[in-house]
Symmetry: C2
Subunit: 310 residues, 2 copies
Amino acid sequence: MSFELIILGSSSALPTSKRSTAAHLLTMNERFFLIDCGEGTQIQLRKNKLSPARINHIFISHLHGDHVFGLFGLISSMGLMGRLADLHLYGPSGLEDLLQTHLAFFGMPPFQLVFHIAADQEFVYEDSKVCVRALKLKHRKETFGYLFKEKEKPLNIDKATIDKYNLGVEDIRKIKQGNDHQTVDGQIIPNTQLTLPPLVPRSYAYISDTAFLPQIAEKLKGTTLLFHESTFLEKDMELAKDTFHSTAGQAAEIARLAEAETLLIGHFSTRYKEEESFLEEAKKIFPNTIAVNDGDRFSLEPYRQLPTGN
Amino acid sequence: MSFELIILGSSSALPTSKRSTAAHLLTMNERFFLIDCGEGTQIQLRKNKLSPARINHIFISHLHGDHVFGLFGLISSMGLMGRLADLHLYGPSGLEDLLQTHLAFFGMPPFQLVFHIAADQEFVYEDSKVCVRALKLKHRKETFGYLFKEKEKPLNIDKATIDKYNLGVEDIRKIKQGNDHQTVDGQIIPNTQLTLPPLVPRSYAYISDTAFLPQIAEKLKGTTLLFHESTFLEKDMELAKDTFHSTAGQAAEIARLAEAETLLIGHFSTRYKEEESFLEEAKKIFPNTIAVNDGDRFSLEPYRQLPTGN
């Protein structure tokens, strides 16, 4: 299954000539998950050669303009493009009211909007391969992060063992369930010798906007790719506190506590000219940090858990 | 007085990777007039190195999304940037309701919004040097075009005549009012021999969106720079009629009837790949036509009326 994150907007409240406001697109095979939708998201989609028509699910963190002002144009364009498929929207309870009021003024689109209210630690989306959990953050308005995760994969049989032990269909079914195998001469072959280490469920967490919230780390344990907002530098820690945002160092601290594999930071305040400082501060605490730019793509390749001791 | 038009968005309903939705910026000396405000206008302003803080007057043609969805982000950003000055908005009567409803949800900005309802052929704005007239167009929603025009300039005295006829302050004042001059020996010097031909009042007309409306031409007589929407090609005349839009040929016909100096066409439907066809069709009827792109700038230099016969 393909698993790719595309950064559509990496600025905070104010867009710049190089950074749009918040929007990420996560593709997991044929699933196109849009996460936040700042002004100009539909334009960013087009610049990145992504069709708005493919998006069926939009996750909104909170109802501040820099995270939602692109919804109006995107929904309008989807209608103009002849969309008929339902569009699912996930977010705080006010989202439906906002959009219904807006659409009452500009006209309803020719497709259905289906609203899903997020709640802390609840799954907001689930299918056979993917689940999405909402995580309550700490901001000036009700805000949710989202954790997108592949479901646990069934064990893969090591094909070389099929001939070696002359395995039948029923044997294989049981081995895939985790059972050991007994040969015709009574020898017990442990399951680990018959199967490949399982594919690790890949995950992406989107944590924006929030004050420093160390207790969130436990819920992000082992996240493959963690995006954490990094609005301020450490020197403006007080400003971060006052506005319920995080510093680059705090974002890195969450990644360290969560034992994430890779940390992405963004949502930089336009007050700073020295953007490399964000990366420097974060890397001191969590070396595997990347500062994102609009248009960046991060592809997560499937990988297997290495057997313990290797 | 400087007089420059900057195209911020030249697409119609759907933005493309190269064309934003409708927005023009007209600068007349220190006046920054924003005309329409499609999604991403604040980003287009930044890309063109224009500060949103300088805009005090926004003229809205009509309340379709591709002409107004950028207002939400622009107003929000103006607030975040600490604006305190009043912001004047001109447009159809629903504009205030739209923005007040929106701001009730997202919070009022720290500055005052002053609404001015447009009415056909009435001045919506006037100061010592500039006036702006609203012109009712013919679209699916109440829509206004806007004609921005310099006021008539006082006559400029030809400086060489001051010494030649030994003119005093009072003489000059009278000559500037259009009077002839009587020399001490009783000779009458006609005013035209004492003054330079007057500077022609420059004008810019923004006509979008509208069905073909030939009677508007009379009100645009002699416009220096005329922007007229050109959503469709002639082959789709029926579609233009049905949707209350114009073809490239119809835009050119308005320019011809109005005896405009230069015609700008834009607001092209994204259905066409062959954008040069718009220009070809228009030029057949009105040769001095330019098809606009985002970022284009048109500077109108002051010029004097040539004496009749030259």
